[in-house]
């Protein structure tokens, strides 16, 4: 949308082609000047260390001698044929497939709710936001206590007459439990971005719709949600990236278990790189993760763009 307007703006200018070219050169220079601090920071703080990480992914380090030698693609072929890595991929993909849409939907719902004019709504909104700021180690402390077999959650289940659940100690529930924990920490954070988008929808649209006699649901589906597409797209993408890089709760609570059921890819990378000392394979896994993320984000961009058209 914006690109079109911008083109329109440039094209509309009646100017000689020479002047225009000079102007476009100057515009490009201005753009570069505005972008350069950010680009320099990104290159120095992210790309340069990433390159050294990638070059490690083509090397094999001997555990016995510490000797490091160029080993071509063997780290990659090892990973792609390793059944352990296959299950890491499956666990990671399924986890994200469930988690991210859930977070986007719930945080949008909370945003819609707390963007209403209600008594003390600022306080409720701030309370929902709070978990985003809880230090990681404390998140784990809270939830390992709440989810332990005789903990808070089971006590609540008992009150409503349900049997106690094993949660983090069971292969079938551990990933789900970690998902709940992540959702709790993420909801308020992403809610803020959706609210920012909501605030951007002109009241006049709603007033016009109200004059037409459109009910709440009509307005939600014909005005609010379509105009929320951009912030929701951002939330979905940023949230996907964040969830793929999820690591601390796994390390603190389950170490990938029971039986590999929570062995998400970032934990596997950490495990191989720092604990097993298999640096080459760990870095190859980072590269695969990056490629995977790039593909997923590109698909998300594409889907959201097509829907808009």
């Amino acid at each position: 949308m914006r690109a079109a307007t911008a083109t329109r703006r440039t094209a509309a200018r009646p100017a000689g082609s020479g002047r225009r070219r000079r102007r476009s050169v100057r515009t490009t220079l201005v753009a570069l000047a505005m972008l350069s601090p950010a680009l320099i920071a990104l290159v120095l703080m992210r790309v340069v260390p990433m390159i050294s990480a990638v070059s490690e992914s083509f090397r094999h380090v001997s555990l016995a001698t510490g000797a490091s030698e160029f080993d071509g693609l063997s780290n990659y072929t090892y990973l792609l044929t390793d059944s352990g890595f296959h299950s890491v991929l499956v666990v990671t993909l399924v986890f994200n497939l469930v988690l991210n849409p859930a977070i986007v939907l719930l945080s949008t719902a909370l945003a819609l709710l707390t963007a209403q004019r209600l008594p003390l709504v600022g306080l409720w909104r701030s309370m929902i936001f709070v978990p985003a700021a809880v230090p990681g180690a404390v998140v784990a402390l809270i939830w390992s206590t709440a989810l332990q077999p005789d903990g808070l959650v089971n006590a609540l289940l008992e009150v409503v007459g349900l049997p106690p659940q094993p949660f983090l100690t069971s292969a079938s529930q551990a990933a789900f439990s970690i998902g709940i924990m992540v959702t709790w920490g993420a909801l308020g954070y992403w809610m803020i971005f959706v609210i920012a988008g909501l605030k951007d929808i002109p009241d006049s649209l709603y007033e016009a719709a109200a004059l037409d006699g459109a009910g709440w649901w009509r307005r939600l589906f014909s005005i609010t949600l379509p105009l929320l597409k951009r912030p929701m797209a951002f939330v979905l993408i940023a949230c996907t990236v964040g969830s793929f890089l999820l690591f601390a709760p796994v390390q603190i609570l389950t170490k990938g278990g029971p039986n590999g059921s929570t062995n998400l890819i970032m934990f596997d990378i950490y495990n191989r790189t720092y604990l097993l000392g298999d640096v080459g394979v760990g870095q190859a896994e980072v590269v695969i993760l990056m490629l995977l993320l790039a593909v997923i984000v590109a698909v998300q961009f594409r889907l959201l763009r097509e829907e808009k058209a």
């Binding site: 972008l35 680009l39 209403q116 008594p119 809880v134 109200a210």
Partner: protein
């Protein structure tokens, strides 16, 4: 928009319920922080109502906490997070504005680059980066703490998304008035962009507020220690005193909440309520 009184009651009840459900674990942290030492476990197995009601508690954990290195850590965390917000926005805003409003060759490539780089997992590159910082003589300095957080691709992303929504007519009008690009950005666009600035600022703030691995890697001396490290050091001082850890966590948690409450007003203003749009 008008709403029936019944609707307001239902929605308020829903908001309160959601807020309480999400806030309950944090409240538990607070109540536990009023129990000296590890005595909070008294109320945990079996679970007692005292785990959620601070009856009989006291604030000794807080006085113990605030007389130790945690206070220095809190000061440093504020300093580092403040610098990160100011410098981070100073870097991200012009970049995002250029991406959103200037049509230059290679714009798509630059944008894609920024998004891709934002996906690089920082934990995975922290070690090579820390040796680079050693070579650049940046270890154990405030600059070393702040710099990596300035490269925040998502802050650029979120600002760009917002700038894209600013009506072109507004910018054209400014140009007609003879305002330069920078002046337009500073005088017209930024005052409209408070929600986005707060959103991006919050990303920058939280990335530093919870910083843990990086400050450890570049070796901060005690006078430059950040609050989460001071908190973690409490727990390596054996887990004997979980009460103080709860207290420190509650302090670290409640500060962003207070900040958000404080910014509510600016935050809830927007293009539509300022009357410039629609």
């Amino acid at each position: 928009m008008r709403r029936s009184r019944g609707g307001t009651v239902v929605l308020t009840a829903a908001a309160i319920l959601a807020a309480l459900a999400v806030f309950l674990p944090v409240w538990w942290v607070f109540v536990s922080s009023t129990r000296p030492g590890n005595s909070y476990v008294e109320n945990m197995t079996p679970l007692s109502w005292l785990a959620f009601v601070p009856v009989g508690g006291d604030l000794t954990n807080y006085s113990g906490l605030l007389s130790g290195p945690f206070l220095t850590g809190l000061f440093n965390s504020f300093l580092v997070a403040g610098l990160t917000i100011a410098l981070g926005l100073a870097i991200a805003v012009p970049a995002a504005y250029a991406l959103a409003t200037i049509d230059f060759p290679g714009r798509g490539v630059v944008f894609t680059f920024i998004v891709v780089v934002a996906m690089i997992p920082f934990d995975a590159i922290a070690i090579p980066l820390s040796s680079l910082f050693q070579d650049w003589h940046l270890s154990d300095s405030y600059a070393g703490l702040v710099l990596p957080a300035l490269a925040n691709g998502f802050a650029i992303f979120v600002l760009r998304q917002f700038f894209l929504g600013i009506p072109a007519e507004l910018l054209e009008a400014a140009e007609v008035d003879g305002l330069g690009r920078i002046a337009t950005l500073w005088r017209i666009v930024l005052p409209l962009s408070k929600p986005a600035l707060i959103g991006a600022g919050m990303m920058l703030f939280l990335s530093q507020w919870q910083a843990y691995l990086w400050p450890l890697l570049i070796g901060t001396s005690p006078e430059r220690q950040l609050a989460p490290i001071a908190l973690a050091n409490l727990s390596t001082l054996f887990t004997v005193d979980l009460g103080q850890i709860f207290a420190g966590s509650f302090v670290l948690t409640i500060i962003p909440m207070v900040l958000l409450l404080f910014f509510q007003k600016q935050y809830t203003e927007s293009l539509s309520t300022t009357g410039l749009k629609g």
